[in-house]
């Protein structure tokens, strides 16, 4: 604990560190690397979609003669890239990376604790994450290629080696990697929950917590309740693959043979997968919303509007997210009545989502908006959340889903709301808390440019996809021009790919800015954004135990921005209430 003498070597300080700040950085940098890989893959397959069948020497250079003969992507490799791209972005960047970075960095700081409840488990969580990342990347280099059944890896496709090359060793490695990943996520989540419950400083009641902490806390609970279900789904799939069981297999004829394994159901897997899968989308989204709430309030110089309503919405979303998973399965042939039920619960979840959006708008109204790069990314995130949430209303309606399920409309929906939305939240977080991480500022000009390239790029990529979907084009097609009926929307694909390439290149701005400013950025001072929450009351730089001397005491909620009766437009949480003053909300 703080102040205790112990000798720090380089290894214990930076590699096997148990300090929440270092672990947060480790998660962040690993996530950046994974994001670059995931994004790079998407460019490779976007090229095939834009110019199907045309040879590109550099594809051959990257993938070799087996997977890109004469520079034309092989269909199996196409599916492999799509699968690993999805897996990496969903799990490694937006689940492990996002929660790992910001829960670690902010939970102890914002609740006024010296560190996580268990530094050792925290370290373990990172290193398991690291190992699972390495296994996932390694699986891309084996002879038969990585898992290729889509990020949802539905059996029997993923269970039968004869169904596709990726269902061989690649799929085994996918399952092993995910098992390790789930262990990492569970350990991390338990630690976050324990920390928030037990280590809040004096005066930090639950209704004085910043919304970031509420979001991380609820996210961790979602993770603890849903990831074990994915683990069991994965284990049963391993058994089917290796031990000859048939949890998911029935009446299969493949490679010219009727399989002996019968009696299972592939639909069982889908239920288990989506029982995690839908909460998972909120495991990704909630931390982003938490970061955005904090960035929006601080930079609007206004209290977040409807703090309690925000907390209630978070709780409602969390609860409802466990009873909507069936909306991913309307077309599986499950009982139509069940479809009705899931339609109903799904549209219920749109209500708290709407409340959140209105509350953000009310927060901006009559604010004094300091449009930092972080703030722009936060506003961008709100915009994306609106766009993607609204198309969710189409998809959640089972009758409408009949014709758009598994088309590009779905791809557009979840990339906007979850992919881009959460990435924007993450960028907002990095720009905003960079001074807390490194005591320096990122270069604003580059940040702005990065925002605009990314914002234009994301909408340029995903808005047109809705139309391709409404023209009936299915997702996960290696080529969209085998059907004459889809020829007329093919011209949209090069446009999308151009935007994708441009925004991918635009990320270099961020990467440069980030790494450059770690060493050379302008010194930031302790509280550059004039923020109220506790992390800015701690001195710049990394000290064991975060605060010198006693921990701060909290007297008020974190959103006293522009409070009447105060000269300054912010009042940090550790400033005692004046006589007769009421605590904020």
């Amino acid at each position: 604990m703080g102040g205790a003498h112990h000798h720090e070597t380089f290894i214990s300080k930076y590699i096997f560190s148990m300090d929440h700040k270092i672990i947060g950085k480790q998660f962040l940098i690993t996530a950046i690397i994974m994001a670059v890989i995931g994004m790079g893959m998407s460019i490779l397959f976007r090229i095939q979609l834009a110019w199907p069948g045309e040879g590109f020497a550099f594809l051959n250079f990257f993938l070799g003669d087996k997977w890109a003969p004469e520079g034309v992507l092989d269909p199996n490799m196409y599916l492999a890239l799509v699968t690993i791209h999805g897996t990496i972005i969903v799990f490694f960047v937006l689940t492990g990376g996002l929660s790992g970075t910001f829960s670690n960095l902010l939970i102890p700081y914002q609740i006024g604790a010296r560190d996580m409840a268990s530094g050792f488990l925290n370290m373990l969580s990172y290193w398991l994450f690291f190992v699972s990342s390495v296994i996932m990347i390694w699986s891309c280099f084996i002879e038969t290629g990585p898992a290729s059944g889509g990020w949802t890896v539905y059996p029997p496709l993923s269970a039968l080696e004869k169904a596709m090359p990726g269902s061989g060793l690649g799929m085994t490695l996918w399952l092993v990697s995910m098992t390790v990943f789930i262990a990492s996520s569970l350990i991390g989540s338990l630690n976050y929950i324990a920390t928030v419950i037990n280590l809040r400083t004096k005066g930090m009641t639950m209704v004085r917590l910043p919304l970031t902490i509420w979001c991380f806390f609820v996210t961790a609970i979602l993770g603890v309740l849903s990831f074990p279900v994915l683990l069991s789904a994965a284990l049963l799939l391993m058994f089917d693959r290796m031990l000859g069981t048939s949890f998911y297999l029935d009446s299969i004829f493949i490679g010219g043979e009727p399989l002996a394994a019968t009696g299972g159901s592939p639909i069982l897997y889908e239920h288990l997968f989506w029982f995690l899968g839908h909460p998972e989308v909120y495991i990704i989204l909630l931390p982003a919303l938490g970061l955005v709430s904090e960035v929006v309030a601080t930079n609007s110089r206004k209290p977040i509007f409807g703090y309690r309503a925000m907390i209630l919405s978070i709780l409602a979303i969390a609860f409802l997210s466990f009873i909507v998973w069936g909306h991913h399965m309307f077309m599986t042939g499950m009982s139509p009545f069940l479809g009705t039920v899931f339609t109903f619960t799904t549209l219920l979840i749109a209500i708290p989502s709407a409340v959140k959006v209105f509350n953000y708008l009310a927060t901006l109204w009559k604010g004094n908006l300091r449009l930092t790069p972080a703030m722009l990314f936060a506003l961008g995130m709100v915009s994306l959340f609106i766009s993607g949430g609204l198309t969710g209303i189409v998809l959640g309606d089972s009758a409408l889903d009949i014709n758009v399920h598994d088309t590009y409309f779905v791809v557009a929906h979840f990339h906007i709301v979850m992919g881009a939305g959460a990435i924007f939240g993450m960028f907002a977080g990095v720009y905003h808390w960079f001074p807390r991480l490194y005591g320096r500022l990122m270069i604003p000009k580059l940040g702005y440019l990065h925002f605009w390239v990314t914002f234009v790029g994301v909408y340029g990529v995903f808005m047109p996809m809705h139309f391709i979907g409404l023209a009936g084009v299915p997702r996960r097609y290696y080529s969209n021009v085998e059907f004459e009926m889809f020829q007329d929307v093919q011209f949209i694909n090069p446009i999308i790919t151009a935007f994708a390439i441009a925004s991918a290149i635009g990320q270099l701005l961020f990467i440069f800015n980030f790494f450059y400013c770690i060493f050379k950025g302008r010194k930031s001072g302790q509280n550059p954004w004039k923020s109220n929450s506790l992390e800015w009351t701690a001195p710049v730089g990394r000290i064991h135990g975060n605060w010198v001397g006693p921990l701060p005491t909290v007297y008020r909620w974190p959103y006293d921005y522009s409070k009447p009766g105060y000269e300054e437009d912010y009042v940090p949480q550790n400033v005692p209430l004046k006589e007769g003053e009421h605590d904020g909300h």
Partner: protein
Amino acid sequence: MELLLILFAVLLVGVALSKVLKAKELIDGLKGVDEEPISNSEIKTNALGLLIFGFVFFALLIAQIVGWDKFLLPSAASVHGAEIDTLMEVTMILILSVFFITQGLLFWFGFKYYFKPGVKGFWFPHDNRLEMAWTIVPATVLILLVTYGMSTWDNIMNPKNEPDLNIEFVSEQFKWTARYAGVDQTLGEASFALYGSNAVGVATKDAMIKRIGECQLSIKGFVADSVRLEKLIEEGWNKDDKLDDVESSLKNYRANIVRLNRMLDHYAKFPAKYDAGKDDIVINNNVVKIPKGKTIKFQFRSKDVIHSAYFPHFRAQINSVPGMKTEFTFTPKETNAEFNEKAIKEGKVYLKTVRDEDKNIISQVETPGSTGFILLCNKICGASHYNMKVYIEVVEEKEYDKWIASQKTFE
């Protein structure tokens, strides 16, 4: 066009790089700690940026909605599809209105309230009436919408009338095979135990007996293989995994014979179920005809992995899952020719594409109308998932009757 886009991308890269280089100079100039981290002029520029972005974004979206409508699917060619289309229209109007209002406010606020030094934000931490209002209004609207949606779904998935026609599709990597129920309008029993030369596994008595014979033959072959392999292994050859394969095949075929015998026992008790397959008609040339105005119940089975039967023009879709029978019932209401005419009236177009023998495109012409009905696969199923199509032809009843009468029955 493509060239233009590439140029555009290159341009963006150029701009980005030049900025990166310029950044270095900037940093050198910006070393003091005391100044505000962000300058007011930067804030103002970006506020303007938000406003401009909002306008351009809306303009481009509207341009796409208007300009690209001709590429989207024509209105539905099935009876229930019309209900989906109406529901979709209502939903789209609703979400687009909400979209323009909320995004409009977002960009407008972002611009209007940008930072001015010395100004304070408006203290407005909550307002119960406002919060109630924007919980209750969306809740009411959504409940109305969802009630409408659920009743539509119920009508579609629980059709009231008995089907006039029963057709089955069996999916496999990477094609569909159809089976018509024949004069008795009953699909005979079928099982994966009979796949092989029997494309959809119709289980008539003769077919089962024949299949047992085939399996026994295969077993003989595998036994011989395993003897040969064991010998090689004794001689020190490294063939263990080959032997494993052979043994698993043996297991599969033996289990299959047990299964077929069980089916024969079952046949003895309920022969009618199996005999119903004799007049079934199997169509595996990727062209399937159906009569206009008849209610057709489509059933789906899958041989290997999950596929999904998607009929975009009919607004119909259902997964095809191994080990499970799924179904979707719809009534086509237009023949191909009628549908094409309607598509022309609706201003829809397609690209008439002519290819040479190597499938290279020779010419593409924007043509009014539609390409006609298809069934395609909409669940990732392997390498050629992107190319699993069946042409559906909706014809007048008379023509259908003639066509089906000319097809060969199973036995």
